[in-house]
């Protein structure tokens, strides 16, 4: 050994414990870590994020939006781990949406059902048919593949809200990670969507058209580490996640970020930090306060008959709370007179009436048919 080198630590060892062989290089810090040290920093960073944002309070019931995919499976696993390790005193419930896609969702719902046992959490599955009177297969059969992302976005968002409301829960966790957030920031920046740019970096999102608040404990967690955590821990997840023709623009932003990351590993965190520093000079929009949201969730939960939007059940979502910010058709919180889901449903139902007049048949499995093509375009 040459005497010029002061570093006595063998280069092949983990940079934290200096005792074990490293298995990965962290994208965030470029540190080379062994499995136990990786688990430790991965979980601890998420715990720190939770504590800094004061995400939970003792006795709170919190839903985890569970798709059976890697992000939400790792989320459920880590929340269980941290809840036990640090005694948050939180009760977590898995909440899944069954979009009604023949041959696809079945597998991922089976995964979620196993997760329920593995993590001893309650599981609630809400179906599109139950909520909207339409399954995703039927929607695709009706409108084709062109615009179904609009439907899946609006319906999916409301489905999670309505599912939580059914459970009397006003707080949902989603598996959105740092890569997702960097993409969203970049997309809003490129579109000049200043209002969204201002809001999209928040760890807790209070939206004017949602009765439920959403949090992202993985805001600073890299996708690479989520994938490796799931892989090394051998977590049970469903790896072909259906995204239903993902927005082309998001795909472009994603590729751009991945390419940036290849030359500058800190790109993702840098974009998030930049996004956080953007501040709207004057934010004129008014969002419901946590107290208002809580009230809505409670009142909405007590009305149990109104799960079917298609049948229109105004009373359920429309008790003592002001009418001003509610959908006139279904009573769901909305900036406009009619919420987005009801507008989409109106179009669908008009189409269905026409189809029935024409003597058309409702094909099933339409969504599954197009799946292979969608996967080819990520």
């Amino acid at each position: 050994m040459s005497g010029t080198h002061a570093n006595t630590v063998p280069l092949r060892m983990c940079e934290l414990c200096h005792a074990r062989k490293p298995v990965l290089r962290r994208p965030k810090t470029l540190q080379k870590l062994c499995k136990p040290c990786f688990y430790h920093v991965f979980e601890t960073e998420i715990h720190n994020t939770i504590m800094e944002a004061k995400l939970f309070h003792r006795g709170e019931r919190v839903a985890i939006g569970a798709s059976g995919g890697k992000d939400s499976t790792v989320l459920a696993h880590v929340m269980k781990t941290l809840n036990e390790r640090y005694d948050y005193g939180v009760e977590f419930v898995l909440l899944s949406i069954d979009e009604g896609i023949t041959g696809y969702r079945d597998d991922s719902l089976e995964t979620v059902k196993r997760n329920k046992e593995q993590y001893s959490m309650d599981l609630e599955i809400v179906s599109y048919s139950e909520l909207y009177g339409w399954s995703m297969d039927q929607i695709v059969a009706q409108i084709g593949n062109k615009n179904n992302c609009t439907y899946c976005g609006v319906f999916r968002r409301q489905a999670l809200d309505r599912g939580s409301v059914k459970l009397g829960i006003s707080h949902i966790l989603t598996g959105h990670n740092a890569d997702d957030m960097a993409e969203t920031i970049l997309m809003n920046l490129l579109r000049g969507d200043v209002a969204r740019l201002d809001r999209c970096t928040e760890i807790v999102t209070d939206s004017s058209d949602s009765p439920v608040k959403r949090s992202k404990p993985f805001k600073y967690t890299y996708e690479k580490e989520i994938v490796l955590y799931a892989h090394y821990k051998k977590l049970d997840y469903f790896s072909t996640e259906c995204t239903y023709s993902p927005e082309a623009f998001r795909g472009t932003a994603r590729t751009l970020i991945k390419n940036l990351e290849a030359v500058r590993p800190s790109s993702i965190i840098d974009i998030i930090k930049s996004g956080e520093s953007f501040v709207l000079l004057k934010n004129q929009k008014k969002y419901p306060t946590p107290a208002e949201r809580q009230e809505t969730a409670t009142t909405m939960a007590t009305a149990s008959t109104c799960q079917n939007l298609a049948q229109g059940a105004p009373s359920a979502f429309d008790p003592n709370v002001t009418r001003a910010n509610r959908c006139h058709t279904c009573g769901y919180l909305s900036m406009n007179k009619i919420c987005k889901a009801c507008i989409l449903l109106e179009g669908l139902n008009a189409g269905r009436a026409k189809l029935e007049l024409d003597g058309g048949v409702e094909p099933t499995g339409q969504a599954a048919l197009t799946k292979k093509l969608e996967q080819l375009s990520f």
Binding site: L24, R25, G69, H231, A262, L376
Partner: protein, 105 residues
Amino acid sequence: MKINIEFSGGLETVFQNIRKYSIDLEAPSDGSPLNIKYLLTYMVDVLMDADSKANGGVGLFLLDGLIRPGVLILINDTDWELEGEEEYLLQEGDIILFASTLHGG
């Protein structure tokens, strides 16, 4: 040389929907090294189905001839970034896992 290839995260859809391959790899005839870089070319030439190739499947796997950013490679369960990446010389019995991080979930 016997090499095992595995996919996770959806990449198998462009490789004939087969998740695990066990292949017998011969040294390149031009004398270039039997490394990951060579393996990537081999996979596109031999393992990727014609349908996927015709529909942009190569672009999901490679970018400018190198692995596409967002696809993780594990060599015998270790991050390939610790093993020399493209230059890693394949060894008998290696398990090479390709995990796509690009898919949501």
